[in-house]
Structure formats: structure tokens, C-alpha cells
Symmetry: C2
Subunit: 523 residues, 2 copies
């Protein structure tokens, strides 16, 4: 498949003045072809097609939408080596990681197909008429969830498949019945084009209305703002920086009709080492922590950037062994020159900070254009609490150990933290009493709480929450991973005394689709 | 019970410099006592108590929170005549209406007690560990909904009981596990104090932590802004004007940590008279419409302010009869001098508008300080579409009939409408085909769609949606009436490999609370 560098608008491809080239982060060299830059005209065209498609798409039988999602997965699978090789060139991520990520991407499309077939997500509630009720009769009432409308999705740099063109937000929005316009991440336009063409092909082959999917390339600022300002766009999915997410959120809020923005932005993912477990396992924990910190050059939203533990000999053993592991760790390739530069800046910020000392740094890699040299720092709880800069995410393999003089101080640190995607507790039975006291604090700070594990690695399933309080996300009431993500793109509608003859199948009393329903508050 | 005019902060009453007096809208006279005005100190105190109470309150057994809600209902019922009489004086609403509204208020508190006892709202999802899964084991995962934190609730003027101190937002937030700080509406401070003291008493008698409920009086602007800016407040419930809701929303969005605002703001509630049904029932529809329009002086969020129909003899018959009914309608008392003034302004705006003609106006009432003289206007679809002023709500008994020259034009009018709480269709079998074509348009514009009824009167139940797209509400994904309102104040948390010994009862594998659960995606 030859890459063309064209926008995909509905079932067309559209060339335009080019302005984006991917960069091989290993060599720093540009990768052909150059990609078109979308302006207002392309946004207009994609949005109008999406709006037109919405009218049809949202009313398709659930089984048809499910088949489309499965066709997308098949079509992405069928890209084979071409996709893996281009993604490796553009992102520097290793083959095994990208193959795994493709599995996750296709898996989540198929998961949502299952969600559609079950129909549970429609949350159908009915209350039959009670004509004889006193003092007033009750009308017949029914409720279902309907899709919001066209959704703008912003591809993430660090998951070029699972959180990009056909990633979590796209899958959830298409499942909900919302057409999607993706702004490709400029770091992997070729990967985006390949996946975009697979989606386009699957949509056409599945008989979906034209405009259910479009893919545009362009500047994050100009194209992003134009999409979010367009009156036809009804919701936004974003994974990226705090600045980027906040800018889109402000724009969405200033529209004549504000719309929801689901932005996943930043998280330092605290890890608590409880005292008894630390005492018994300092070295093992240190090695596992270092392994998790440097995995994938630390380029995960859930990378464990912060460790909290009580002062003492056990913590010193942990610090020594973690420092040793970090100092032996190889530098790894980062995704883009921009991410590399931001990492270097973040490390420099910590390096010069009062009260912060470097425990270790990993090996250099003079051959790589965009290396991530792992870093580990330590500080006191007092310093951490007093210095907001230490609460900022450094995206990459950089960790900070915070030494607490007491359990109370650990609680104070937790209370001082901003919202997080995850919080992790390492414990054993003798720590349970303390863990019980900490759990309510952790619930208020994080969307997912893990025990005796590491936060990187997010299971795509029904119970997952990949979300959390501000600023980890802009809307803590939803998740971006797992089947519950479909709820982002839905809203409830109530029908009162709806004539059976005009009722959609989902609301007919005879329940021809066999949907699960709540009747008079009982399932 | 003697009214004191003091704030209720936790279990204390607090006097302060007074600045608010209720006004009897019939006579224009002030009603004693004068009420205290809260400043930053009172906000601080109430918020700190709420924050402290949250830690305990959210972890209480569901049955304890349910018993508290029921005690609130009992305590409000026990206020008896005192409450009805004060509310009549302050609002000018008739006895039967207020007695019905008290029933609804206590009914919705008891409904939420049932929601808590069933536990379905926790949406518990579990996925057991799969240690042998290839290529990676699956950890044990569980998800539940937890409360957001302290909530600020703004009492509405037009439902002094059901959407005020112990109204829908308060009931939903307390059910969710969130302490509530109510800003009393200045139009009915005495009613607010009576209900507030009943809630305070019920909280104390039920052993709830102090601070689970506070009630403050003060300026909508200053006290409202201070509450929404307070870092401890985690969500806002509001029913009122578009300007008021938008101001609170902007403040909430500009906080260092933005929070959700659930503001119900404005709606003109279109009513479609489909041609066959109009032909057969023009006079009956006209009388029913006029009755609905003037009911309660039109002071309902769901008042039918807009009628759409095709031109022709049947519409003229409808207009004639509706005009006749309106011209015979008595003026009724409005809630406050401010609402009365806004109504007069709204009517004057229509009166002078190009292309708008007055069909009829109701009788004068020179004896009333704040009368609502009903008004009915008509215009063409072209004029309506071109003039945004005609899309604004006129709160009160003022209606506008829009004459459409074709079905296509009716569709254009619907598309031009802003988001609405309700849309109503009057039809008979011969109109079903047309109704089927219109239904998708109505779904995109409204939260509730009614057939052959009138939108005033909102059933408090599981299927109800009292919400809708902007600007009818600030968040179309929720409802303010009915059991689903609890979802506003919740967010999901996922627990990974949670040790059974520290798991809350709701998440224990043995399910000691007998909660409904979804396991591996199946209920």
C-alpha cells in the first residue's frame, strides 16, 4: 500500500498543500510522504458529511453497527506487516509492543461490537401507564440512551494504534452511534493513513453512510480549534498534554453551545510502599519499580512517576537498589523530538530544584536522535508538599521518591496531590489496617487503585476505569478505556405515551430486539 | 415554629447582618423576619463542615443514608400547615399546588431511599482474575460508583419545595453520598428555613455527621460565586435563569479544578399539532393548550411556549378558540416582583416585534402587585427562523404560535430551535407517518418527547428525563428529576487485585449486601 498523504473525507481522498512529515526518532530523518494540512474547507466538508451521516448511522440496527466495528478490526488486522513496519519507523516503538497494541486495538473494537449486540448500554427503562392511579394517572414512560452527534477525536502520540485513529475514543463513539472525525497525530501520519484507509474501506464495505468517518491532518492548534469550534461537533475525545487538553476545553466551553470534552491530560500515578511489605521486600520492589518506570521509555499515561514511603532503613535499601537498577538501565528511543525535548526540560527542572537530589541516572545513547535517559530523584514530603513544580508530570522514565516521616505525613502528601489516573499500594497482611485508612484518600484522588502491581498495562474490559479527577482528565465521571467508555457519547431521552406504531424497535413493548430492560425500577 | 432568619450551618444556627426579606407577591408587602446574608466566613464554615462530614457520610451503610432520606421526608411532612401557609404567603401559589408539591418533594426523598436500598446505582462490575490467560494474566478487577464530594445546590424560585432546599438536587446528592450546602432562594426564605430546620433535625436524629447539610441565605451573585469558587465544592445543581446558570458555569470552569455544573436554564417547549389531528380537534386542542399555558401563571420550566402547525383553516380554528380562551383567562399571581417585571419585559419584546401579531391577552388584575396577564402571539415560520429573539423563553403565561407553510418548513423550524426540556406532538393514526419522520429531529432537540399530552407535570420515576441539550441544561447527559439524577453526583473507580480483607462491603466477593452486579459483562 503506497502512502499518499491525503485527507480521508467520507469515501474520498483529498490532496492539499502539504506541511507535515513524520520524523524517525532514531535517526531524526524525515519520512516520506509529506502530508496535507487541513483548513476550514476540509473541516466544513468532513463535518457536513458527518452531520448527514449521523441521521442515518444512529438509526441503523445495532447489529449493523456491530458488524461495522468488526469489519474495522478485520481490516486493520489485514494491514499485516505494512502497519507494524510503518509504525516502528514513525514511533521508534518495538515490534512486540506494536503487535500487542494492534491486538488491543482490534480487541476493543470487537468488545464494543459485543456491547452493541447485548444492548445493555441503552439503559432502557419503562414505566407502563397507570390510568387509574390517584390523585393523577401515570402516563406510559420509557427512556433510552441516544448518541450525541458527530465527535472529534484527537489521536494520541504514545498509543499510535490503541489511542489513535481507530483507538478507544473512535471505537466508543462509533459504537454509540456517533460519526467520528479524527485529527491524526502529526507524529505518526503514515500509521494514521494506513489505519484510516482500513476504516474507510470497512465502512464502505459494510454499507455505512458516507461521512461516518473522516481523517484529517493538520496543525494541532489550527485544525484542532477549527474542529472543536464547528457547531456540528457535539463532543471531543482527546489524549495528550495538559496544555493541549485545556486549550480545547476552553474553546468547547466558549462555543454558543458548549460541548463535553473528554480530555486525558496528566498523571504522576503515586505508588505507596507500605512499611511491613517494604521491610520484607525492599529489593524486589525496587527492581520491579525500576522495570515499570523505564518500560517503553516511560511513555505511558500511567507511568509510576511518584513513590511514597516512610523514612528508614527499608526505604534506603529500596532507594539503593532502585538507583542501581536505573543506573544500569539503557536509554530508549522516545516517540518524537518534541517529547524528547520536553523530557529533557522536565528532568532539568527537577535537577535544579531545592531539596531534590538525584538518586541515579541511566546510560547515555549518543547514537539516538531522541533518547530517554532514565532518571530517579528523591525528596522529602515537606519539600514535595511545598513545591507545586514537583507535582507536574515529566512524561518519560523519570521518577521521584518522596520520603515521609510518618503515616500522617503520607496522608498529607496524598491530600496535596492533584487528581490521578491511578494510585498503587504495595502491601502485605500486616499493612492491611493502614491500607484501610488510606483507601478513602486514594479513592478521592484516582480513577483506578491497584494493589501489589504496577499501573502500566490497562485491561480493556467492563470494569476498567481509565480516568480520574482533574487534571488527570477533564471529566472524572467517565472512562476512556473499557466498555463503559460508550457512556461518554450518549444522553438519555424520555418518551411519554409514545404510540407503538411509531416507536423505534428498542422501545416497542413487545421488545423485538430482546433488549435488557428495567421495568418499574426492576431489571 | 418561629422563623429566625438565621443560617443553618451543620447543627448550629447562625445570625448575621440581615439583608433579605420575602415579599408577598399579592400585596407587595415585605414579610418578617429579615434574613441574614452569608459572606465568605459562612461559606468557609459550611464548606469545611461539609468536607469533614463527607469522609464519614459517604462510607455509611446504604441503609443508614436511606433512613436519613426517609427521616427528612417525615420531618417535612410533620411541618404540616405551618409550611403550606408560609409558602403561600411567600410565593402566591395556591394551597392545592403546594400540598401536591410537598407530596412530590417527600416522594422523591423516599424514591431515593429505595434507590439506595436496591444498590443498583452503584453499577458494580467485576471481572475475576484469570491467572492462566495468555499472553498475559488478567488481574481481578472491580468497579463501583463513588460520590464526588460536597455539592452546592441553588434553590429554584418556581418550585419552593420540590426544587428548593430539600428538592431534587438535594435528594439526589445526599443519596449519592455527597453533603449539600443549599443557597436558599431569596424569594422564599421562610419556606427555606422551615424545610432547612426539618432537614437539620432529621440529620441529627438520624446520627448523620454534622455538616452533611447547611443552608445559607444571601445574594445570588456574591454567595453563589463564593460557593462555586470554594475548592471543597465538587459539583453544582442549579435551576433558574440562563444568565444565572451561565455565570455559575463560567465560574466553575475557571476554577483551578473545574467542576461539573448541572444547570437547568431555559426552554420554550415546542408543541407540534400534526395536520390530521388538528383538523379533527382544533377546538379541543386550543382549549387544552390555553389551559396548560396559563396553569400556575405559566411558571413552569416545561410551559408550552411555542406551537407549530401548518397553515390552513384548521389552524385558524385553533387560533380563534385559543385566543378566545386566553382572552377569558384571569390574571394570576406571579412568584416575585422580579419575575413579574421580567414577564412584562418579555411580553413587550414580542409586542413590538416585526412580523409578530397578538392573538389575545387575558384579563387584568389591578388588585395584584405581581399579576401575570396571559398573552398569545402568532408569527410565520420565516419570521421565527430569522429572529433569535423569538426563540427566547418568556417565563410566564405567554405563548407564540408559528405558522408553517409546509412540513419541510416545520422541519426547518425544529432544526433552528435550541435545545429543549420537552417537545410535544399531538397526532392521530393518520399522522403517524409524519410523526415518524419528525421523531429523530425531536430527539436531537429535547430531553423528553410527549404525545397527546401537555409538558407541564413531570412524573418523578425511574424513566423520567428532565434535562436536554443546551441551553435547556448545561449537561444533556443527565436528568434533574427521577432516580437517574443520582448519576450526576457519582464517578466510577476501578480496584485492581483489591485484597478481600480491606474491600468495602460493596466489593467483597461474598457480596454481603446482596447488591446487583455485572460479572464479566453479564448481570
Amino acid at each position: 500500500m503506497t502512502l499518499k498523504g491525503h485527507h480521508l473525507i467520507g469515501y474520498q481522498t483529498l490532496a492539499g498543500p502539504t506541511g507535515i512529515e513524520a520524523v524517525n526518532p532514531a535517526s531524526g530523518e524525515a519520512l516520506a510522504p509529506a502530508y496535507a494540512m487541513a483548513g476550514q474547507a476540509e473541516v466544513d466538508q468532513a463535518c457536513q458529511l458527518a452531520e448527514d451521516a449521523f441521521l442515518t448511522y444512529r438509526q441503523l440496527p445495532l447489529a449493523d453497527r456491530a458488524a461495522f466495528l468488526e469489519a474495522m478490526a478485520d481490516s486493520i488486522d489485514a494491514l499485516g506487516e505494512t502497519l507494524t513496519e510503518r509504525a516502528m519507523l514513525e514511533t521508534g516503538l518495538p515490534r512486540a509492543r506494536l503487535e500487542g497494541e494492534r491486538g488491543r486495538t482490534c480487541g476493543q473494537l470487537r468488545l464494543f461490537a459485543g456491547v452493541l449486540r447485548s444492548g445493555d448500554y441503552l439503559d432502557i427503562r419503562t414505566e407502563p401507564a397507570l390510568p387509574d392511579r390517584q390523585p393523577m394517572p401515570r402516563p406510559a414512560l420509557a427512556q433510552q440512551q441516544i448518541p450525541l452527534g458527530p465527535v472529534a477525536v484527537f489521536g494520541a502520540s504514545n498509543f499510535p494504534l490503541a489511542f489513535s485513529v481507530a483507538g478507544g475514543d473512535t471505537a466508543a463513539a462509533l459504537a454509540a452511534g456517533c460519526p467520528v472525525i479524527v485529527k491524526a497525530h502529526s507524529a505518526h501520519p503514515g500509521t494514521s493513513e494506513l489505519v484510516g484507509r482500513a476504516v474507510q474501506e470497512a465502512a464502505q464495505a459494510s454499507g455505512m453512510p458516507e461521512g461516518v468517518f473522516s481523517l484529517l491532518y493538520g496543525s494541532g492548534n489550527e485544525l484542532g480549534q477549527a474542529l472543536v469550534k464547528d457547531a456540528r461537533i457535539q463532543a471531543v475525545g482527546f489524549t495528550g498534554s495538559r496544555n493541549g487538553g485545556t486549550a480545547l476545553l476552553r474553546t468547547a466551553q466558549q462555543r454558543p453551545q458548549p460541548i463535553p470534552v473528554f480530555a486525558e491530560m496528566s498523571s504522576i500515578n503515586p505508588v505507596l510502599l507500605l512499611p511491613q511489605h517494604l521491610e520484607a521486600n525492599a529489593e524486589g520492589l525496587a527492581e520491579a519499580f525500576a522495570g515499570s518506570l523505564v518500560m517503553g521509555a516511560g511513555q505511558f499515561c500511567t507511568n509510576p512517576g511518584l513513590v511514597l514511603a516512610l523514612s528508614g532503613a527499608a526505604l534506603e535499601r529500596f532507594v539503593d537498589r532502585a538507583g542501581q537498577a536505573i543506573s544500569e538501565a539503557e536509554a530508549q528511543l522516545m516517540l518524537t523530538p518534541g517529547i524528547h525535548a520536553a523530557y529533557e526540560e522536565g528532568v532539568a527542572r527537577l535537577q535544579g530544584r531545592d531539596g531534590v537530589t538525584r538518586v541515579a541516572m541511566g546510560k547515555e545513547a549518543p547514537d539516538l536522535a531522541c533518547p530517554c535517559r532514565p532518571h530517579l530523584y528523591r525528596t522529602s514530603a515537606e519539600t514535595f508538599i511545598a513545591d507545586p513544580v514537583l507535582h507536574d508530570e515529566v512524561f518519560g522514565a523519570c521518577g521521584l521518591i518522596v520520603e515521609c516521616s510518618s503515616v500522617e505525613q503520607m496522608q498529607t502528601v496524598l491530600t496535596a496531590l492533584e487528581g490521578q489516573l491511578t494510585a498503587t499500594v504495595h502491601l502485605e497482611e500486616a499493612d492491611h489496617e493502614l491500607a484501610s485508612r488510606l483507601l478513602p484518600l486514594l479513592e478521592r484522588r484516582a480513577g483506578r487503585i491497584l494493589f501489589n502491581g504496577w499501573p502500566t498495562g490497562v485491561e480493556v474490559c467492563h470494569s476498567m476505569v481509565h480516568g480520574g479527577p482533574w487534571p488527570s482528565t477533564s471529566d472524572s465521571r467517565t472512562t476512556s478505556v473499557g466498555s463503559a467508555a460508550i457512556q461518554r457519547f450518549l444522553r438519555p431521552v424520555c418518551y411519554q405515551n409514545l404510540p407503538q406504531e411509531i416507536a423505534p424497535d428498542s422501545l416497542k413493548e413487545s421488545n423485538p430486539l430482546g433488549l435488557p430492560r428495567q421495568v418499574d425500577g426492576k431489571r
